[in-house]
Subunit: 205 residues, 2 copies
Amino acid sequence: MNIPSKHIEEAVEQLASLPSIGKRSALRLVLHLLKRSPEEIERFAQAFITMKSEVKQCTSCGNISDKELCAICLNPNRDTSLICVVEDIRDIMAIEATSSYKGIYHVLGGIISPMDGIGPSDLNIDTLIDKAENQEITEIIFALSATMEGDTTNFYLYKKLKDFDCNISTLSRGVAVGSELQYADELTLGRSIMQRLPFESTFQK
Amino acid sequence: MNIPSKHIEEAVEQLASLPSIGKRSALRLVLHLLKRSPEEIERFAQAFITMKSEVKQCTSCGNISDKELCAICLNPNRDTSLICVVEDIRDIMAIEATSSYKGIYHVLGGIISPMDGIGPSDLNIDTLIDKAENQEITEIIFALSATMEGDTTNFYLYKKLKDFDCNISTLSRGVAVGSELQYADELTLGRSIMQRLPFESTFQK
């Protein structure tokens, strides 16, 4: 692609450096931006600079936050003896959107993935063990992806945490709510049968 | 989506204001940017500000350029008596990539589209008529999209230009090079038959 302006080319390259944006889409976006006023472009650009300089990581759970501690850790109505371990802050948003969880979180910052060169030392695991050792924790919930990497990480964490005096649980796997049985994959349906529940336990409390 | 930082939220909103980027993808991109160094973010943001302040429109053809006149208009090897009318600067890039055209361009900045509220007065049409009137032009080529809006614009331009002493041509339509006949749509194949060419005229010169 032969772009007739090196400034446009630089803007295209910056946008195309983001995941899943190719050069052709980046050019389309840049030409769209070019039609905006200088003030709008200034605001567009400033948003990223402000974000980088102002956004902090919650010192307790690793969630993103504008303060030292995030809104969840600061909330006095949250049960601090219940920790939900997630891979990424987007998982926190997903769980929060369910309104089904009243404990706090611990963000690992990834999962163990030898293929991508990510080992236990690259993750926020020591601080989790420290919490299990020194704080009043009754239960730790593993809420990682249902992939091989997720399972590996779950097992690694389990080995590190099993000797502490707290329950360890994981998300239930099974047929999704609202889906038809015939379309469920065999592995999921198999797990749903093996891990069947007493019918009374499924009544909404 | 409940984002736990208003700075992240502002950056997400700015990215999601671009066409075809939804809030969820924008969040993914912003979290990716957040991992970069402050210098990289500065460079990312600055690229858009510089682009807006430095990029000009070629005063002759309307192409984007870093100077008053674009590289194509400044090139002494270009035939200035041949004007190719395009909708958008991306069309110039596409035609330039073919290396089949040695004339200059005229960017309309859109096509007539009553559905989108775009009429002839919103486009760069007067300057094209001015060129036909006052410059030494031998041929004007309409290279607009093969859509109803493109055809409407072609016809409007034809009515405005037909009385001047220059040839008016349009891109040939037909079965794409390398494609099989049985997969061509009826309209295109029909046009290909009606506008058939003397076989000798297709020999490469």
